[in-house]
């Protein structure tokens, strides 16, 4: 389908890092079923490096592809670099998304941050709350 780039279709058809980490150090979930998109990320962190990551997604092709690409961009990266990951980087790595699908990449950025915040909370690590945006709301999908 010409709706999506070859890279989006590749990540949709062969998503990387699908699954669950039972003893995750951090878990993040954003979106809601009412909107039609939910992403859930599980991360393992060792020495401030994201050593393992798995995801689950309820959503459209670009939601699955965005989540898959995000896990690839994060895996093996130091936490401070992971915090810098933007939805734009996910879009670029996927060779673009249609305008009405950009919100999928926003979810990917938000879910990473949610997982890291959970990691910090669980491990009693202090952080700047400004790093983490408010919970995702449906309105932001329209931007």
């Amino acid at each position: 389908m010409a709706l999506y780039s070859a890279k989006v279709m590749d990540h949709f058809r062969n998503p990387r890092n699908v699954g669950v980490i039972e003893d995750a150090d951090g878990v993040g979930e954003v979106g809601n079923a009412k909107c039609g998109d939910i992403m859930k990320f599980y991360i393992k962190v060792d020495d401030d490096v994201v050593t393992d990551i798995k995801f689950e997604t309820f959503g459209c092709g670009s939601a699955i592809a965005s989540a898959s690409m995000a896990t690839e961009l994060i895996k093996g990266q130091p936490v401070e670099k992971v915090l810098e990951l933007t939805n734009k980087a996910v879009v670029e790595a996927l060779d673009g998304l249609p305008p009405h699908k950009i919100h999928c990449s926003v979810l990917a950025e938000e879910v990473i941050k949610a997982a890291l915040k959970d990691y910090y909370d669980r491990h009693g690590i202090a952080y700047d709350p400004a790093l983490f945006p408010d919970d995702h709301d449906c309105e932001s999908c329209e931007l």
Partner: protein, 398 residues
């Protein structure tokens, strides 16, 4: 790999008959039906014949047929005409249903802005049926029009338009029916239905795109939407799209001729699909079981999203559609699925298979097998499904 086109509700492949019927008017008889010379008059004759054919197929009089650019234009023109006629008599109330096509719903929105009051009747949960009793109860002294679709485009439910039209006629209220999904697929007889307006679209029954027709009962003065020349008895300006009109007439004639055989064959495959897909756990059939278009199958599957299903089905050679928000470009899933009581959560996970007579029982088995695999696969990566299975949230479907 086989390719099964199961999206005939969106559009159909043109029949050979329809293609052949169009060809003479592209180069040979290319004249303008309004011209006096022979090539123009030959075109004018063909236009007369096409109108007679369409009228005959609907049991209408040729004078009652106006060619349009499609079903949407026909719906617009019917509703706006009835509204204008009503307004002259001080009647500004219109009754319709919550599951109409946007060509109807958005036209009604326009009327509301102009001061009309619109009652959208709710439909029966699950089936999407409206009853004549609901219509009767909604009628007021100000009601000028009742518009109820003959068959729903998403869930295939066939509405009791004949009974509704009968009670409206008694009260001298005009009736319109959007029959875009019905014409060529189930028997449609305007006299038997008793409606005042009926809209149809050529490309839904193996005719060309960009052409449709509006039946307007004799005696009703149609209001023009497009000003210009005197084509279509002054009710629709613009040079007639004769190739498309001829193609549509031929396609309709063929569909009506083969209607019984096609309905029987298609319904058999439809029922096989429904029976097979009911084997998938936590799914639900959308629409009526009995009063249903012979080619329509529509299911919601819990815990997954429709666009992903469609992309994976396409990879497996199956073309289908969905009422999910992601496929519509809006935030909300199909208004039809919401109106039949499906919560957002499962409305996103809908699949519509709209088949024609070329889809076989073997194809149906293949679709069931592939769709079952796709549903399981997507559920395997869905956090929503995990929560349902682990009892963290309750299942909506059985």
């Amino acid at each position: 790999m086989r390719y099964i086109y199961a999206d005939n509700g969106a559009t159909t492949r043109m029949s050979d008959t329809a293609v052949q019927a169009m060809l003479p008017f592209l180069q040979g008889t290319y004249g303008n039906p309004s011209s006096l010379h022979s090539v123009g008059q030959a075109a004018a004759e063909a236009l007369v014949k096409a109108r007679e054919t369409v009228a005959r197929c609907l049991h209408a009089d040729p004078k009652e047929i106006t060619f349009t650019s499609g079903g949407s234009e026909a719906d617009n023109q019917a509703i706006l005409t009835a509204a204008a006629l009503g307004k002259k008599k001080g009647k500004t109330h219109v009754i319709s249903t919550a599951i109409e096509h946007h060509a109807v719903l958005h036209t009604l929105k326009k009327l509301e802005k102009e001061g009309f009051t619109v009652t959208l009747l709710p439909v029966e949960p699950g089936t999407g049926l409206v009853t004549p009793e609901q219509v009767a109860a909604a009628i007021t002294d100000a009601t000028c029009l009742v518009s109820v679709m003959l068959a729903n485009n998403e869930i295939g439910t066939i509405e009791p338009v004949k009974e509704i039209a009968a009670l409206c006629r008694e009260k001298k209220i005009l009736t319109h029916t959007d029959a875009v999904q019905a014409v060529g697929h189930i028997p449609v007889d305007v006299k038997d239905l008793g409606v005042d307006f009926l809209a149809l679209s050529g490309h839904k029954f193996h005719g060309p795109k960009g052409v449709g027709a509006l039946y307007t009962r004799r005696g009703i003065l149609l209001q023009s939407l497009i000003e210009g020349g005197a084509q279509e008895r002054g009710k629709r300006a613009g040079t007639e799209n004769l190739p498309a009109i001829a193609g549509m007439a031929a396609a309709l004639e063929e569909s009506v001729k083969n209607l019984d055989a096609n309905m029987a064959a298609t319904a058999k495959v439809r029922d096989r699909l429904i029976a097979g897909l009911e084997g998938i756990e936590h799914g639900v059939l959308n629409g009526a079981r009995e009063n249903r278009l012979p080619g329509n199958v529509n299911f919601c599957f819990e815990g997954i999203e429709g666009e992903s299903i469609l992309l994976l089905l396409d990879d497996r050679g199956i073309a289908a559609s969905s009422g999910s928000a992601c496929t519509s470009g809006s935030l909300d899933p199909s208004h039809v699925l919401l109106a039949i009581g499906r919560p957002h959560e499962i409305a996103h996970g809908s699949v519509r298979l709209s088949i024609d007579e070329t889809v076989t029982e073997d194809d149906a088995d293949y679709i069931v097998e592939q769709l079952s695999e796709v549903v399981s696969y997507l559920r395997g990566m869905s956090p929503v499904w995990r929560d349902l299975v682990n009892g963290k949230s309750p299942f909506i479907t059985k």
